[in-house]
Amino acid sequence: MALDYRKCAEEISANIGGGSNVISAAHCATRLRLVIADNGKVNKAALENVDGVKGMFESNGQLQLIIGTGTVNKVYDEFLAVTGVSAASKDDVKAAAVSKMPWWKKILKTPGDIFVPILPAIVASGLMMGIVEAIPKFAPAFGQSDWFSFLDLVANTAFALLPVLVAISSARVFKGNIFLGAVIGLMMVHPALINAWTVSNYAAGEIPTWHLFFFNVQQVGYQGHVIPVILAVLLMSKLENWLHKHVPEMIDLFVTPLTTVLVTAFVTFTIIGPVFSVFENWVLDGAKWLITVGYGIGAAIMGAIYPWTVVMGLHHMYNVIEAGMISSTGVNTWMPIASAANFAQFGACLAVAVKVHNQKTRSVAFPSSLSASLGITEPAIFGINFRFMKPFICGMIGGAVGAWFAAVIPHGTNAAGETVAFGATTYGVTGIPGIPAVNNTVMYIIELLIAAGVAFALTMVIWKEEQPAAAPVPADVAEAAKEHVPLEIPTTSVIRCAAGTVLQPVKGNVIAREAIPDDTFASGVLGDGVGIEPTDETVVAPFDGVISSVAESQHAVGIEANGMELLIHVGVDTVNMQGEGFTCLVNEGDEVKAGQPLIRFDREKIKAAGYSDTVAVLLTNSDDLEGVECGAAG
C-alpha cells in the first residue's frame, strides 16, 4: 500500500494549526522534525492517527513525527509545498528550538555550552592540581622540591589563565572571532595587571589605578573569573558582528577588529569589571554576615549557595575572609563550610559517575569527582553537576547539611592544646587535603562523609540520565544531533558474553529460554537466550548496534553489534497477526542506541488474537560466541 504523501502532509498540516504555526521544519532519516509556535494548536491525538505517521513525540522543543526511511523525505517535500514553510537544516531547527526555550533556561545553558569544549583542559588540570597540591600537606618536604614547583606550574596553567580558555570558547558560542576572543581573555590576565589571586595582599591605596575619563580603574586582572569574561566576550561578539554589517567592506578588515577590541577593552575595565567587583564585595560582605547567623543556620545557607559562587568565579575572594579569621582568632571557621560544599559536589558527581550509562559522561565524571574530593570542584561543577542541574542541587543540599554539622561541632584543639572553635589553621584547602589543616580531624572526616553522603544519596535517587542532547560532551554532539529521543536505558541485563552485554529490551519478568511457550524458541534452535513476560509495550534496543532485519509483520527485529546477532521476537506465533498491533519504529540498516524504542506492541491485541505475548530474546549465533550466560542480572 503506497502512502499518499500529499494527503499525509495535508493532514499533518491541518493538525498542527497550518503553516503559519510552524517556525521551522526539517527531517532526518525517519522523522519529520517541526518547531511549532503555539503547541495549543497541535491536535496530538489526530496526528497519531494520520495515515503514514507511525508515532510522535516531543523533545527539546521539537515535535517529531516518525514517518520512516524513504518516505519521510517525500512527505517533507509535500509538507513544504502544502504549508509554504521554507526548508530548514537540522541546525536551524535546533537553533529555533533553543530560541523557544525560556530566557532563564538559555542563560543557564550558556555556561554549559562554553565549558563543555574546554572540559578536557580543566579536568586534566583540576585533577593534577588537586593531587600536586595535596601531597605537601602530608609530606611537607615535597613542597620544597623542584618537582613540586614544576608539576604545580603544569597543573595550574589552565586555572591560572582560565579566562583565556573561557574567552575563546565564549567567542565560539557567541559567534565572534575566536582570536579576538583570545585577545580579550589574554588582556584580562595580562601580566602587567595585579593578579586577582594576590590582590588581597595589597592595601587599598597601594593598588595602581588608571584614570580614564571620569573612571578610576584599578589595574587588577581577572584570574579565576568566569562571568566578567563571558560578558566581555558577549559584548565583543555582538559589537564585531554589528560592525561587520555596517562598516564598508573596503575598510572592514582593519576598522572592525580595532574598534571591537578597543571598545570591548574599555567597557570591560571601566564598567563590566567595576560593576562586577561591587557585586563581589556584596557577596563577600553577605557571606561574612551569613556565617554569624546562629544555630548553624547561616553556615547551612552558605554551604548551599557556595557552589553558585564557584559558578560565578567568586570563590577565590574567600581567601580574604579566611585570612582575616586566622589573623584575628587563629581559627578559620570558614574552611569547614567551604569543605562541606565542595565535598558535596564530589558526592553528587560521583553519583553521576556511578549511575550514568553514557560512557563519555562517565569518563568525565570519574576524574572530575576525584578532583573535587581534593578541593578543585570546577571540573565536577561545570563538567557534570551544573550541566545536569539536579546533581548540582543535590550537592547544595549535601553542602548545607555538612556545613550545618560543622557549625554545631562544639570545638577543636589548637597547637597549644587549648579548646577553640572548630576550624582550620590554614586557608585555601578543602576536601581531603584539608585533613591535616583542621583542629578536630575526626569531626572533620565525619563532616565530609555527611556532606558527600547526602549529596551522593540524593543524586542517586533524584537524578535520572537525560537524553544525550541535553548533555553534549563534544564528540557526542553529532550523535546527539541525530537522536533526540529521551532514552530510558534499561538497568538489567539478560544475556552476557565475551562480545558484550544484552540489556533487558522490555520491562517484565525474565524467564529461562526453556520456559518460552514455543518449542522452537525453547529448544534453542534459534540460539540461546531468555524469554520475557512483558509488563510494558515497548521493545528498546538492548545495546548500541545496527538493525539487521525487520520482520514484514513488524513483530520481530534483529540487531547486531560486535559480532553479536540478536533476535527480539514479540509473542509466539504473532507472525500470523500480520502486523496488526505492532509498530516497528526502525528500519533495516538503522543505527540505534541502547534504550532507543524499536517496536511498540499492543498486549491486549496479542491476547485477543489468542497468542502468548512472551518476548523471545535470542542470540542467534550463540554457538559462535564465547562465555554466553543467560538470565536476568542487575
Partner: protein, 85 residues
C-alpha cells in the same frame, strides 16, 4: 556447485522459526549454502540475513550448495525445503 530452485509454500515464509530450523539443518554440512532471491543472496547460515530477505509464501528462491559434501547435501537440503518450507 549444485543448485536448485524452490517455491516457498510455508504461509509465513522464511520467518524466524523456519529460518532457525533451516540454519540448523544446513549446519550439518560442510558445504557453503547460499539462498538467492532476485538480486539478494545470503549465506544460509546467517539467520538474521536470511530473515532480512523477507522471503514470503509464493516466492521462488534459488539455493546453491558448494563444497566437499555438496552432492549429498544438495539432495538432502532440497528434501528439507520441500518438507519444511
Amino acid at each position: 556447485m549444485k543448485s536448485f530452485e524452490y517455491t516457498i509454500t510455508d504461509p509465513v515464509g522464511i520467518h524466524a522459526r523456519p529460518a532457525g530450523v533451516l540454519v540448523k539443518e544446513i549446519k550439518k554440512y560442510a558445504s557453503t549454502v547460499t539462498v538467492i532471491k532476485g538480486e539478494k543472496s545470503v549465506n544460509a547460515l546467517k539467520l538474521m540475513a536470511l530473515m532480512g530477505m523477507g522471503i514470503k509464501q509464493g516466492d521462488t528462491v534459488k539455493v546453491t550448495i558448494e563444497g566437499a559434501d555438496e552432492e549429498a547435501a544438495a539432495a538432502e537440503i532440497e528434501a528439507f525445503f520441500k518438507a519444511n518450507l
